[in-house]
């Protein structure tokens, strides 16, 4: 236990000095030794494989070309290499096997360590996405991220490396993904071998929460991104605000993406207020930097929406989900060919599920671009969710399908023999609390449907209709009232907002009499005309082209 404390405290100190990563590498030596024997065996096997199966000529040429463009900081070419060539070659040669180990390609790139670190980033990412990472891969990939961030943060002065934004986003995204994946892996000791458990126990600092947060905060500090965002909002001297590091795109973007990364990490840990607080200096608008990388744009809104939902701010969540789902629907044709198409679609589908939960709890008119799809996909769910007790299961199903992969930050207690047979499942913890929230509101849809039919009604009469006693009805009415008020954002940071009415149905009680008022939405003539004027103009433009 003592060692444990020390490790944490040490890391905290280093947070200020931003050289934690070197320290972690020192600690890591132990693992290398542990892995030694096994590692060498593997090396041998790999060597044999490599001799038998040489690296294909096109892959060799690709790596040489790749290396040259890294040296020349040719971001344009790197963009193509990263998004297209690498994926094409993966499909052709490495669908079921890993890319060649970095050591084998080292001679092709003059043993360029920076390139090899970047290459390993892709190498491990490919194993995570296409194959099953073994514990060694998890450890080595962590080590490689340490090398990479160490190089970026702790070189003498800013490094001259330049990478496409998409890749920079993917580095942060993958770093967090592997952290989350590791936490979940560590939580399931039941299926592990003794060696694996020993490795996990002896290397508690690998993929620890503190080390991950340190990287993200260090990138934010180094890039002075907060200062830069403040200047772009309030004006001032950008060059001075950005400083030596932050004026380089690599640092600026890594710092910015780290903010979004923290939004995600805090959601994974169930800290929804802190998650949204990370966004204090970022405005949710189309002009924001996150919109430059589609995957980042989608991630941002998914987590903002999710955090709002968990904070009972359903109206704000609906707004966030609607915004990004409209965006995905409109840009569908552009990203069908992107390598991230599947991922974006999956997130989109999850957000439809979350949106369904939100509108079940807070009935709202949706944007016409997404409403038909939601009805088609989740219409039946929505009906079930309004049927009281029996709808609870549907809430749970949708929640578990669409929630992020929550993590338990500390992993099992290795001292406790029981821990070896237990599996920690943080999503059940979150689902349970969220569902208790839903449970309060189960009767609301039924009650609403009755209230909509009347303008005044006695408590006795309505309770007879509903087959509940008068006191229960009073209680239910108080719940309806409270749930029809939500904290909603109007301006300022994402956490700000005031309570407003979010329901079209309102009522008041004068002793035993309910007085009901419904607000109606007037016809939207202007909107209708605008849409048709645009349509008409398109037809005319089309005719012009043809003639």
């Amino acid at each position: 236990m003592e060692e444990y404390h020390e490790g944490y405290e040490e890391e905290i100190d280093l947070a200020e000095e931003i050289d934690l990563l070197t320290n972690n590498n020192d600690d890591y030596a132990g693992v290398e030794e542990d892995l030694d024997e096994e590692g060498q065996m593997q090396l041998l096997i790999l060597q044999q494989q490599q001799y038998a199966q040489e690296i294909p000529e096109v892959v060799k040429n690709f790596i040489i070309y790749f290396h040259r463009n890294i040296l020349e900081n040719n971001v344009y070419e790197l963009h193509g290499i990263y998004e297209n060539s690498f994926n094409r070659l993966t499909e052709k040669f490495y669908g079921k096997t890993p890319w060649p180990e970095a050591d084998y390609i080292a001679p092709l790139v003059n043993d360029d360590q920076v390139f090899l670190t970047l290459y390993r980033e892709l190498y491990y990412r490919h194993i995570y996405s296409k194959l099953t990472p073994a514990i060694e891969h998890r450890f080595h990939s962590y080590e490689n991220y340490c090398d990479l961030f160490n190089f970026i943060l702790n070189s003498d002065g800013p490094v001259s490396l330049e990478l496409p934004n998409q890749w920079l986003w993917d580095i942060i995204d993958e770093f967090i993904y592997q952290f989350q994946s590791f936490c979940n892996y560590r939580s399931r000791l039941k299926t592990k071998t003794e060696e694996e458990i020993a490795l996990l126990r002896d290397n508690i600092q690998v993929w620890s929460c503190y080390s991950v947060l340190n990287v993200l905060y260090s990138l934010i500090t180094k890039s002075r991104i907060t200062e830069q965002l403040l200047v772009s909002k309030h004006g001032g001297d950008m060059i001075e605000a950005a400083g030596e590091y932050g004026s380089r795109p690599l640092y600026k973007m890594l710092g910015y993406f780290s903010i979004i990364g923290l939004l995600r990490v805090h959601c994974l840990l169930g800290d929804y207020t802190l998650a949204l607080k990370m966004m204090d200096n970022i405005e949710l608008s189309k002009k924001a930097l996150f919109a430059r990388v589609t995957a980042c744009h989608v991630t941002t809104y998914y987590y903002v929406g999710f955090a709002y939902m968990m904070m009972r701010r359903y109206a704000d969540a609906i707004k966030a989900f609607s915004h990004i789902l409209v965006f995905i629907a409109r840009t569908k044709m552009y990203h069908t060919r992107s390598y991230q198409f599947d991922q974006i679609n999956k997130k989109g589908d999850q957000m439809y599920a979350l949106l369904t939960i939100c509108i079940a709890l807070c009935p709202t008119r949706l944007d016409e671009n997404i409403h038909p799809h939601l009805r088609e996909k989740y219409g039946e769910h929505l009906l079930k969710m309004q049927r009281g007790e029996e709808g609870l299961q549907t809430f749970e199903d949708l929640f578990l399908y669409a929630c992020p992969k929550f993590i338990s930050p500390n992993g099992p207690n290795f001292e406790d023999p029981n821990a070896l047979t237990q599996t920690i499942e943080p999503h059940h913890h979150h689902a349970k609390i969220f569902l208790s929230e839903v449970r309060h509101q189960l009767l609301i849809p039924t009650l609403r449907s009755y209230l909509k039919l009347y303008t005044t009604m006695g408590i006795d009469k309505l309770s007879a209709f509903l087959d509940i006693d008068a006191e229960t009805l009073r209680t239910q009415l108080l719940i309806v009232k409270q749930k029809s008020r939500q904290q909603k954002w109007t301006n300022g940071t994402l956490l700000e907002g005031e309570y407003v009415t979010t329901s079209d149905l309102d009522f008041c009680l004068k002793q035993d009499m309910i007085h009901i008022a419904e607000s109606k939405v007037g016809r939207r003539y202007g909107d209708w005309f605008l849409r048709h004027i645009n349509k008409f103009q398109d037809i005319i433009a089309g005719m012009d082209l043809r003639s």
Binding site: M1, Y4, Y8, E9, I12, E16, Y210, L213, L269, G270, D271, Y272, T273, L274, M310, M311, R312, S408, N410, I424, E425, P426, H428, H429, H430, I433, F434, S436, E437, H440, R474, T475, L477, I479, K481, Q482, R485, L495, E498, Y499, V500, T501, D506, F507, C508, L509, K510, Q511, H515, I516, A517, S519, K520, V521, G522, R523, G526, L530, I533, Q537
Partner: protein
């Protein structure tokens, strides 16, 4: 006529928050386990002075989340007790989300959850019955000065949002003033309400007004820019 809801979110920056706490929770210092005692002391002041600072209390739970060896069950209980007084704000659940899996089964926490459920579900009589039948409950809330009054305020707010007038007997039950007429009258008068013929009159406010409205569409200038553009082409 007030056009703001009677409900207010727990403030992001309460006026009484000391400078040192502010800078602590704003920066990376919030992760430093050495600072937990400062935050715990601050919670102590909140309990004493009938104040409440959600963000600072969440910072304590965050440190506990990362450093299980620091966990102090008494502090967690007190944070949850304070969060009860903030209902219907989501604070109580926001705290629960930060606890470890399994914490929900802890005896004290389970008791507090029971209280939370009855408050959230507006079963106020049940709340008081539960609260009074077992001394363990009073013990749990004993460090929070003015807890009873704070809960009465929570309940009265919910009533004022829904009712324009309510039978005094019923309200007395909800507020747990059954055998204490003087206390009851003093309390509701301090909240600006009057009693007439055994009926408590609640002035209209944003929440209990219930006025039918028609929402008209609002076209912004930006929506018209394209159409204006077309007219230029003609």
């Amino acid at each position: 006529m007030n056009n703001k809801s009677l409900l207010t979110p727990s403030p992001l920056i309460p006026p009484f928050r000391p400078e040192i706490i502010q800078s602590l929770i704003d920066g990376v210092d919030r992760y430093n386990p050495d600072n937990v005692s400062i935050l715990e002391e601050y919670l102590g002041t909140q309990l004493q002075n009938e104040e409440y600072d959600l963000m600072a209390n969440l910072a304590i739970l965050k440190l506990y989340q990362f450093n299980p060896h620091l966990v102090n069950d008494l502090v967690i209980n007190n944070i949850l007790v304070k969060a009860l007084t903030a209902i219907p704000n989501p604070d109580f659940n926001l705290c629960l989300y930060l606890l470890q899996e399994g914490a929900l089964n802890d005896e004290s926490i389970a008791k507090l959850i029971l209280l939370q459920q009855s408050l959230e579900e507006a079963r106020y009589q049940e709340f008081w019955e539960t609260y009074e039948k077992d001394d363990a409950y009073r013990e749990l809330t004993s460090e929070a000065i003015g807890f009873d009054t704070a809960i009465r305020k929570v309940i009265l707010t919910a009533i004022c949002m829904a009712y324009q007038s309510i039978s005094a007997d019923l309200l007395r039950l909800y507020l747990n003033f059954v055998n204490d007429d003087d206390g009851f009258e003093a309390f509701i008068q301090s909240r600006g309400l009057t009693i007439k013929d055994s009926v408590v009159i609640i002035p209209t406010n944003y929440d209990n007004e219930a006025k039918p409205t028609v929402i008209r569409e609002n076209i912004k200038f930006e929506q018209l820019t394209k159409v204006i553009g077309y007219s230029n082409e003609l």
